[in-house]
Subunit: 391 residues, 2 copies
């Protein structure tokens, strides 16, 4: 994380392991009593009380009114600890090839304001200027206390080093080794985190969505690229060499097409939206066919175009089954802009998953659902929240 | 783990988290000073000293002679803590379809005695009798103190619940829901752990082999079955539904053969030793061909049989690349009895891995090496050691 120019004011919560554990648990799992926290975290009650004290003093946590406990030990009042969602706010911005999408979230990742801005120039300086302008737009739209916004999370696809805020490689912006965290902190005066967009979305689901409390969890995104964020043994998987969750480049068809990555028969080379469009153009002999037209043809019953979507759904299902067979997540969420054609995919993804999931791995529930536009930006904000809670 | 009939004597080391962390670190990483332990584990020096005390008193750890430190702080003597390998010994037994393979290991998983016994009857009672006899053989061959052997680790392929010692399903013994841990504890008087054989082998590599200190690590075994043990974020992956590491059932060929699992084009349906033999028989028109004969034909230059091994190596390489692309292990060890034909596989495994590994994932080193016969049994002993150290 890169501190902004008012870093002196960024005292933030204490960094001791017990405080971090207490803060994380209360934030992600809702109001929790000290007794339950002690049991959950393997700490003494005294240690929980000690860890919670500065979090309460700094306004991040507060005690709910004492309630009568029921069940064993009934009668002793318990005062659950809860998060003050308005204690601090976070800007999240997803950078795409042609647009910036931004949100302001509270500490519980509830969206409080949204804004968008077209991206006209992929040059680093131009993008930074637009990020700054988008932040101004968001502050204008944000109904809360502007002085409580001190952190900015950025996300984009590509190879990102979260710890240093470095964009190692962004294929669509043609960036290499851009120190985006440092530059954006200078430009905005906010403390900045940078993360890969799929990992950021996974972080949001892990802390604030379907992945809460799951020891393992997977989020698969379907679009031009096909990506996957993985939580295993309670933590996001980042890969020893910076590569993880590359479900789009699993080989599922030995006689399939060559992929831009150098592989053959990769999921993305069959089921990415560009790949689907190329196949549909080929089958119809219409080189100017758009993706929406291909979807319309398939929905209208065009056999050969339907077969392209069927094959794509099967490839995605094989990739998802590979995730289930290898790491056995508790649940898998499938989402992304490619799911606009959801009705053409859904049953083929499921059929292929069920065929290839090994034994009890088939019991892993799939949530296949579209992704609201601001979810990607909220993911970026969630990473910023994590950088506050887990310094 | 199931305590044996002398469980009263099994006081064992303390179960406090700090003691477990100190014991694990000293055991797996060799002699470590208290200062280094405190830094590594995020504990105070006082906490390390307090945690180590009972481990020293019980004879599990001892202090090496004080040595002069060099570098910063030079001059203050440091007395590294080390494990007493002879403090306790562990029997490990791998159960195969036709043989029991046993070892006695010390606390550092060094093999001190080995024995084998043919398995004549897959009936549970008969196997238990043979396990008891093998244990007697091992005690006879073991040159150390018999009274220090109090634990037995069993491993076999199939669906095993390590926490309850239950064999849910063993395909080759045709067992379902056999409480092997409890039964073996009754039969031998030892405290028993039961684990899947591939996971046990992975545990041995993680604590005592190439995986020491790795946050993530994979072990792939090639044979009749093709399996994989995974360590991610420092812990063995067990799968939310009991399924993990099923690399043999990744779909890598959309037009490949049907697999016994119900899938299509699974790695195992192409590259398992049974699958290779079936394809070689088909290509040669010799239904009585043996695996060794197929290997000899391929080595002799028989084009069509060579192609079977080439295809198998490619399928295995795709499976390994899937592991690298999804979880990004620090290193991958490929081993197993199927690698007797190592020379026919090796280059195809590597070529296919390199083609399919995405970007920097290709930097993950592959160690392709044969597996000494007692390694599987040592894996079972390693799980037993873990049950002592992490109660």
């Amino acid at each position: 994380m890169f501190p902004g120019d008012d870093s002196g004011a960024l005292a933030g919560p204490p960094a001791a392991p017990a405080a971090t554990a207490v803060f994380t648990t209360v934030l992600t799992e809702g109001p929790v009593s000290r007794v339950a926290l002690a049991r959950r975290l393997g700490l003494s009650s005294a240690a929980v009380t000690k860890a919670a004290r500065p979090l309460i003093d700094l306004g991040y946590l507060h005690e709910l009114a004492a309630t009568e406990r029921t069940g064993p030990g009934a009668g002793r009042p318990a005062s659950p600890l809860a998060v003050r969602a308005d204690r601090e706010f976070f800007v999240g911005v997803k950078i795409t090839a042609d647009e910036l999408i931004g949100v302001v979230c509270d500490l519980r990742a509830q969206v409080r304001a949204t804004a968008r801005r077209p991206l006209t120039d992929p040059d680093v300086a131009a993008v930074l200027t637009d990020v700054g302008r988008l932040a101004d737009d968001l502050f204008e739209a944000f109904p809360g206390d502007r002085t409580r916004v001190r952190r900015l999370g950025l996300s984009l696809s590509g190879d990102i080093d979260r710890t240093t805020g470095l964009v190692r490689y962004s294929p669509f912006l043609h960036w290499r080794d851009v120190p985006l965290g440092r530059l954006a902190a200078q430009r905005t005066g906010l403390s900045v985190t940078v993360e890969n967009d799929v990992k950021a979305l996974t972080a949001a689901e892990h802390w604030f969505g379907e992945g809460v409390g799951a020891e393992s969890f997977a989020l698969v995104t379907v679009g031009t690229g096909i990506g996957c964020g993985l939580v295993v043994n309670g933590r996001l998987v980042s890969g020893s060499y910076g590569v993880a969750g590359e479900i789009g480049h699993l080989a599922v068809d030995a006689t399939g097409p060559d992929c831009h990555c150098g592989g053959r028969g990769c999921v993305e080379s069959i089921a990415g939206t560009d790949a689907i469009l190329a196949q549909a153009r080929d089958r119809t002999g219409r080189p100017d066919l758009t993706f929406d037209e291909a979807v319309a043809l398939a929905r209208g019953g065009h056999e050969q175009v339907r077969a392209v979507f069927t094959r794509a759904g099967s490839a995605i299902g094989c990739g998802i089954a590979a995730v289930a067979n290898l790491v056995g997540p508790t649940r898998i969420v499938v989402s992304g802009e490619g799911l606009a054609a959801y009705d053409l995919f859904d049953s083929h993804i499921r059929a292929s998953f069920e065929r290839q999931a090994f034994g009890a791995a088939a019991r892993c529930p799939l949530s296949i659902r579209p992704l609201p536009f601001e979810a990607w930006a909220r993911g970026a904000a969630a990473v910023s929240i994590q950088s506050l809670v887990v310094p």
